[in-house]
């Protein structure tokens, strides 16, 4: 149990995928303009990443490993995640319309995003067990949600700040992300998994 908690905490804070591994930066900057949107995005990424990570583990261990085709991992995972996101969209649209209204646009945005793709890939490379890989994916998703919510809160405040003209918009956002990242890098080495 302790091991899983460490893994979770490590992926949320210490090895935060956005701020220390720099994955998923496009949605990190694209959807962090408002707090509400960023919360929806964080939830969508967490759930998609967890489910696709579980599926990817199954495919990797029961299809690719037995046939010695592990060099196909990248191609198969792209296929898997792209179709899985579509499937998820249909299911949510049918059975949870409120959730769909909240997630609708974000779900398809993350269909082939690097963080959604990177986490299952890193999980199989680390030879995680099924449970470990699930926990790691939840942690990575929560870490992403934390980062994007922090960023959105900062950017909402920034709207009222007197930013020099040359830095307005994305410029100041990049600087902010750098500072956030520096702060998160301070955790590095605290938990080693």
């Amino acid at each position: 149990m302790g091991h899983y908690l460490t893994l979770l905490a490590s992926n949320i804070v210490v090895n935060n995928f956005v701020l220390t591994r720099f994955l998923g930066l496009c949605i990190f900057f694209g959807v962090s303009k408002s707090l509400n949107a960023s919360i929806g995005m964080g939830m969508a990424v967490t759930s998609v990443m967890t489910l696709s990570s579980m599926l990817a583990w199954v495919i990797y261990h029961f299809v690719l490993m037995p046939f010695h085709l592990t060099f196909l991992t990248t191609a198969v995972f792209v296929l898997l995640i792209a179709s899985f996101v579509q499937l998820l969209e249909m299911i949510i649209k049918k059975h949870a319309p409120t959730l769909y209204n909240m997630w609708g646009i974000y779900l398809l945005l993350i269909a082939t995003n690097c963080i959604v793709f990177g986490v299952p890939l890193i999980n199989v490379e680390n030879n995680y067990s099924f449970l470990e890989s699930t926990v790691a994916a939840i942690g990575a998703g929560l870490g992403f949600a934390l980062a994007i919510v922090l960023m959105a809160s900062l950017r909402e405040k920034l709207r009222l700040a007197d930013v020099p003209k040359a830095l307005q918009g994305l410029g100041i956002a990049f600087i902010l992300a750098g500072m956030l990242s520096l702060a998160f890098l301070g955790f590095s080495g605290m938990i080693s998994v």
Binding site: V63, L72, L79, S83, K93, A161
Partner: protein
Amino acid sequence: MSNIEIAIAVIVVMTLVGLMFGIVLAFANKKFYIEINPLIHIVEDILPKGQCGACGYAGCMAYAEAVVINPDVEPNLCVPGKAPVAKLVAELTGKAAAAVEPKVAFVKCAGSKSKAKKAYEYKGVGDCQAASLLQGGPKGCKHGCIGFGTCVKNCPFDAMTMSDEGLPVIDNKKCTGCGKCKTVCPKDVIELVPIGIHVALNCNSIDKGVITRKLCTVGCIGCGICVKNCPHGAIKIQSNLAVVDCEVCVSVCNETTCLYKCPTGAIKNSINEIEKIDKPSTVAAKAVNNNTLSN
């Protein structure tokens, strides 16, 4: 395994995996198919697509969906579309059409640069919402228009401009009464008034008369002269402000006595502009107004 065997295995596995996902998706598409009422798209086409949100929904699409699906949603909620759109939507959705009361935005402040005192020199972001955070804005009067034109920037129909005197001017012919400017104004200085109203109060200050007088030469001091002079009882004093009952003013009054009696000129006939739009209900009023002006 030789290279050829590996190549064959790759092709077979990728094809199978791809086929499997394809079949699952095709199956899911049938199983989770949701029928969308084609009427929704027709209704959406009729709406003006300013995406102003005056109807209370997130956008024109959201309103179209609500008005088609939910029988309790009124067909006349689209303010920019006015009566023609309401009528069409009502016909399409089979609901009884109620009249849309045409409204336009009206700025309840006449405290231009020369008339209202400044409290301090503001050098920050040129935005009313930001400026209002700093001691309620740079003007001495904390209820009046700040004058940075946040409403002008947010008008979806290009109906507002900023005058040289630092007050927003509304083009009543372009104004659809969507109320976007009212929402973004941190001082709540913009009001939606019905077209055809004769007089309106050009002041938003709830300060006592003495204070208002010190800060602005055209503010309403709450003296109540207008109340005494209105023959129809359409004006009341509420928290040091004269409040005009629009309904009475539009339908009953022809005299606009209050206008000439106001000592500070806070009650204005700036609605003259509005009356230029030919609305059947205001033609009579317009004639009367022209008579008084020529006298």
